[in-house]
Amino acid sequence: MNRISVQTEPFDIAAVQDKLRAGNPAVGALVSFIGLMRDINEGDAVSTMTLEHYPGMTEKALEAIVAEADERWDLMGIRVIHRVGELKPQDPIVLVAVASAHRGEAFRACEFIIDYLKNRAPFWKKERTAAGERWVDARHSDKEAEERWSE
């Protein structure tokens, strides 16, 4: 099974979660993060968003992040799906799902992956507001979130 996907199509959250645990009765914990498009950013209403990425590097970056999580924690399955192209408010943007025997490792790995993805995977968001299109700025809080993992 592919562990990472970058796609324009919506993804099936339930199917991913089912697949990560199906047939493996050693899985005791499944932690999932779903990132969704919000209709407000920086105080402005956002009608649509376009996600650009760097084909080739994106997949490599996600594979590297997943491989690092797999090495740091004792996991039984990881799945990362990220959408690109045009999205609307309430659309899921990214899914990170991690299966493990115990919950601590699944929580740590899931949050590690999304923190690293936010800072290392080459995606860029452009949003459309009443005032026109604008690129979303990187958040300082995301950099801080990543840096926790090297303490």
């Binding site: 990132g35 996600l51 590097m57 080459p122 995606f123 860029w124 968001k125 990187a138």
Partner: protein, 83 residues
């Protein structure tokens, strides 16, 4: 010859998404290549003067010291905002 890619806000600012460049002998790392591009003036000077551009060499995150050589795929882009 190297290939250079530009993404997102940078791509729009430079009005180009890629180019091929014959690598001068004295350009051996990302910092030197950035200086070369900045020296083009205009939007290039603007874009490559800021402290916040990220770069990649052969699709791996790079830093100013990362070596570049003939045949490489180099990319410049703003801080990423996925997830």
């Amino acid at each position: 010859m190297i290939r250079i890619l530009y993404f997102a806000r940078l791509r729009e600012q430079l009005q180009t998404d890629s180019e091929r460049l014959e690598l001068p002998a004295d350009i051996t790392d990302i910092a030197a290549l950035s200086r070369l591009l900045r020296a083009r003036g205009g939007v290039w000077e603007e874009a490559f003067s800021g402290p916040t551009l990220m770069s990649a060499v052969n699709q791996e995150v790079a830093n100013p010291d990362t070596a570049i050589a003939d045949g490489d795929e180099v990319a410049f882009f703003p801080p990423v905002t996925g997830g």
